[in-house]
Amino acid sequence: MMHSLQVPCTKENLKEIRYFVENALNRYEISAEDVYFIKLAIDEICANLIIHAHHCNHEDLIEVKIKNEGDTFIFEIHDQSNDNFNLLEYKVPDIQQIITNKKSGSMGLILVKKIMDEIELERCEGHNICRLYKSIPQANR
């Protein structure tokens, strides 16, 4: 089964994205804590794109797709922008540096990397896909 949601790139739509992720995951009897953290990781990626790549332009769209393959959940975030930021290459500073430099965005990336098992980025002619993988064995649900 695939779940999909497309919304304009505004910060106000982050709540709708979280609601969509929660509803989709609740079909799989995943623990409330896992749902919370997955929702957080998707929110962090989407907020980063909406704010930094799209400058909250409501005419731009962002799409979240959720697929389940056995024990693995695949989350895809699709958008169209020319933002060159590569979160895979970004070296996250330590937490004390983040506090001193007041860069909360870096905390979001720490959370995504700690919550998700694997992150992939795909770029093709202005269409970007950020793919996040999370394994949740059925026995743990």
Binding site: K15, E33, K39, D43, I51, I95
Partner: protein
């Protein structure tokens, strides 16, 4: 998100109700800045009705932490759910930000720790 702001003795209490995310963190940050500017001695953050927090919300705390320490203001969070506390723990912030279970514990800590920084 809604904020409920009240003063009890020498405690400035900000209750966060709802989701503290990228769209609401600025409102909370403004409330925190106002409390610091007003030279509140003890700022307590009631998280008992905080439903969700993401990095911009956490950033509102961390960006004001040094300012609070420099001004000898005790910033204490209390009443957060285990899920939200785990977000702080994942980031290692439970070692840098004071988190207490109840308002009473938060008040006792703030009174005892007056003029000492949690970072020292």
């Amino acid at each position: 998100m809604e904020l409920l702001i009240q003063n009890e003795d020498n405690f400035h209490i900000i209750s966060i109700i709802g989701d503290l995310d990228a769209s609401s963190s600025v409102i909370f940050d403004n409330a925190l800045e106002e409390a610091i500017s007003a030279k509140a001695k003890n700022i307590l953050i009631d998280c008992s009705e905080l439903n969700y927090i993401s990095s911009p919300g956490i950033g509102a705390f961390t960006s004001r932490l040094e300012e609070c320490n420099q001004n000898h203001i005790q910033l204490v969070l209390y009443g957060m759910s285990p899920k939200i506390e785990n977000v702080f723990k994942i980031l290692g912030l439970d070692q840098l930000i004071v988190i207490k279970k109840t308002k009473e514990e938060a008040k006792i800590y703030a009174n005892d720790a007056q003029f000492t920084s949690p970072l020292h």
